[in-house]
């Protein structure tokens, strides 16, 4: 083997290793682990909030077309519905959610809050209830 061959060999090997490790690192570590709260009403995304980057807590009230409301409290890493004028109050009773995959649902107002984020820690595809 000539010197030139060795150089080419090493260069190619380095490229291959770099390529693989780059993909590996990207897939496993670089994915944002930020928790994003998504507030949807009747299928439309109203707001996306990065809970991880939040520094202060906020309150917001979401109104339905016919004048009903859900009052939402957003804090660092967590979100909940504080109050609502729906009949069953399931959304308020659900309490605070903080994990990717968690959701709060207010059926009467067609409101869903879900937390998106890295779900690799989740053991389940869904929960039957």
């Amino acid at each position: 083997m000539k010197k030139g061959d060795k150089v080419i060999l090493i260069v190619i090997l380095v490229v291959i290793i770099l390529g693989f490790s780059g993909t590996f690192i990207y897939k496993n570590y670089m994915k944002s682990s930020d928790k994003i709260a998504v507030i949807k009403q009747d299928g439309n995304v109203l707001k996306r909030i990065n809970l991880t980057k939040l520094t202060s807590s906020t309150e917001m009230t979401i109104k339905t077309k016919d004048g009903h409301f859900n009052k939402i409290v957003i804090e660092k890493d967590k979100i909940r519905i504080l109050d609502a004028d729906c009949p069953d109050k399931v959304c308020v009773k659900t309490g605070t959610i903080s994990q990717p995959g968690d959701s709060i649902v207010c059926l009467p107002h067609k409101l869903i809050i879900t937390i998106e984020g890295d779900k690799t820690h989740s053991e389940v595809d869904a929960t039957a209830y």
Binding site: D5, G43, S103, L107, D125, A126, A128
Partner: protein, 345 residues
């Protein structure tokens, strides 16, 4: 020599790219979400035809909702109720099939499962803004209207009639299951082999996960908020349906009044069971049986489920004890250690 090396590494280089893309190649998937059947409906469908198939499936759900919803004035169920004690109402094959199946479960459970529970459901109003604890007299009055034997079927004309005025059927304990089965059927007919159907917590899986492994389905922890599970079942091609006192309820003087009514007493079922989960092939069976088992209680419920082929169940009692049917041991595990696994009885 030089050429050989170049060739060799070209092959390695090219194949590494090919393999890495091949291994991670995923089938296209579509996720759809909608508000139907009084709940959130979510479909995740994999395959080339996913978009068209999921749209068709959503249309079917919407159509069945229109036929069987008790709150829609024009539904077939509403028509049957309005004509109680008066006339037969011609219904679709779908509604007829569901009512017929419901009556089978009524007789199998000796009335523990009873779709004529409508008047009681309306009286309690659980899950509505009119929820209240009725007087014993009111309950007694409405109980006299609960009797599955008063549902008269005319097989030839696909017609249904309730014997007495003011009687009313409510398909809430079975319609979602039937709908899930129909969705699966539609997807299969569209050539879909992998799908995940979630009709407000009633889950049906089609095939294995896209990577070939089994689906991991959490089972609701009845003492935690929705979505928190206490155990996991591994399945492929199954229906998983839970019933529990956590689904819809209201509190009055520190007591919880939930929506699963005992048709013998007229009050929310109170026999020590706080949640049941049924794993079955057909979701219509799972839906009806989860309610049935909840009302029957541990001993009778377990006996009934064990007598049925291909149906498995998980019962949770007030004191956090978990009982399962014998066929479930290998693919169920408890993840919340507060729960004690009392082996299959």
């Amino acid at each position: 020599m030089k050429k050989k090396f170049t060739l060799l590494f070209t092959i390695i280089f090219v194949s590494s790219i090919l393999f890495s893309s091949c291994a991670k190649k995923e089938e296209p998937s579509v996720t759809k979400e909608n508000y139907l059947l009084g709940t959130i409906v979510q479909l995740t469908v994999y395959g080339k035809n996913a978009e068209a198939a999921s749209n068709k499936a959503m249309d079917v759900i919407s159509d069945l909702d229109d036929k069987m919803s008790p709150s829609k004035d024009t539904s077939e169920v509403s028509k049957i109720n309005k004509n109680a004690g008066k006339a037969f109402v011609k219904v679709s094959d779908d509604t007829f099939t569901v009512i017929k199946k419901a009556l089978e479960y009524s007789s199998l459970s000796n009335g523990a499962f009873d779709i004529t529970v409508g008047p009681l459901v309306n009286l309690w109003g659980i899950g509505t803004d009119k929820a209240r604890v009725p007087s014993p007299q009111e309950i007694k009055d409405k109980l006299s209207l609960v009797n599955y034997k008063d549902v008269i079927l005319d097989e030839n004309n696909r017609s249904v009639k309730l014997r007495k005025p003011n009687e009313a059927i409510d398909l809430g304990g079975i319609a979602k299951g039937y709908t899930a089965d129909r969705v699966k059927e539609v997807l299969v007919n569209e050539g879909i082999r992998t799908a995940f159907i979630n009709l407000g917590g009633n889950i049906v899986t089609l095939g294995n996960k896209p990577d070939g492994s089994l689906w991991n389905i959490g089972v609701q922890d009845p003492l935690q908020t929705r979505g928190e599970y206490f155990g996991i079942v591994k399945v492929s091609h199954k229906s998983i349906v839970s019933s529990g006192n956590y689904e819809r309820y209201f509190m009055k003087n520190g007591k919880r009044y939930h929506h699963i009514l005992d048709t013998k007493t007229g009050y929310p079922s109170d026999n020590g069971i706080i949640a049941t989960t049924i794993i079955s092939d057909k979701s219509i069976d799972g839906d009806a049986l989860s309610t049935t088992a909840f009302v029957l209680g541990l001993d009778k419920g377990m006996k009934l489920i064990e007598s049925l082929k291909g149906v498995e169940a998980i019962f949770i009692t007030k004191d956090k004890k978990v009982y399962t049917t014998s066929g479930l041991k290998d693919n169920f595990k408890i993840t919340n250690q507060e729960y004690i696994y009392e082996k299959g009885r």
